[in-house]
Subunit: 145 residues, 2 copies
DNA sequence: AGTTATAAATGGAATTATTCTAATTATTAA
DNA sequence: TTAATAATTAGAATAATTCCATTTATAACT
């Protein structure tokens, strides 16, 4: 059994890929579905093992390939904290990340427009920022989930 | 010839180490001096080759050991952007980093108190942030240096 | 100064996340 | 269908960093 996206997500998925002349394969759909399904910022490794439950033949290289493709299409975002393995996030709104050093869990933190524009205003003249990255680490309650 | 710190820095250096019962070795002094000397956010690799000019017998492991020690003493900070090699920064004031995707150079960007406290205010109740990390990437003029 | 205890430095091997390569398989369009 | 092309696969390669066992340096104490 393959991992099937629900209608609205499947539409976004195949449109985004086809716009770039890429093919909506079952591996790509599965990887995307898994990232959407449990928004816990999984690593490639995490994703690999989850994908295997649906498509047992999937290789590690494929997971990395799919992730690169999905990032390239703007469907998911990479999250890097320190030197730990890259994590993947389907939340496309402007948001920061909080990593709890006790549990290792990563939480989304919304950024309001005001604070966001203040952060952007830090960038001096002559510089053009294409990307902002804000992350916190410390300890956080794990009440949610 | 060993890399010698100027008096005020040497004082900070040996005090910070001795506070933790650590020894101010010539390798540690050299690594610290190199990071202070050219504030270009060098990688361990960069630092290794610069150190070798002063202390040719230095090993890679030692550079990593010294860096870990200096970070532990709060004399330098690690800067991580994406998955690229860790860089080292002697600027201990609250500041963000801007990476130019064309040149690879990393620039310090000061953060004013106001913006800083707004960023801190994003952290929800129940979470205690020990660290903030703000980084930008894009294109920047390389006029300085 | 000389001895001893401990910390640090060293070279090389090991680890680990990620990327690359060459061969096979799937998808699409004609 | 067939042919062209793109994607997947297994495994090798890469690269930053860490680990390990040994040697050397440092500092405290005679
Ligand atoms: Mn895992
Ligand atoms: Mn270099
Ligand atoms: Zn997120
Ligand atoms: Zn800096």
């Amino acid at each position: 059994m393959t991992f099937s996206l629900t209608s609205p997500f499947r539409k976004t998925f195949s449109n985004s890929l086809r716009e770039k002349g890429l093919r909506p394969t079952k591996q790509r759909e599965c990887v995307y579905g898994i990232i959407l399904d449990k928004r816990d910022h999984p690593t490639a490794d995490d994703i690999y093992y989850r994908v295997k439950k649906y498509l047992p033949g999937t290789s590690f290289a494929t997971v990395y390939n799919c992730l690169e493709t999905l990032v390239g299409c703007g469907l998911v975002r990479q999250v890097n904290m320190d030197r730990s393995p890259t994590r993947y996030c389907p939340n496309l709104t402007p948001h920061a990340h909080f990593k709890c050093n006790k549990t290792g869990r990563i939480y989304d933190i919304q950024i309001d427009e005001d604070t966001l524009s203040r952060m952007n205003a830090l960038v001096p003249q002559g510089f053009e920022a294409e990307n902002i990255d804000l992350s916190f680490s410390g300890t956080g309650n794990a009440l949610e989930n």
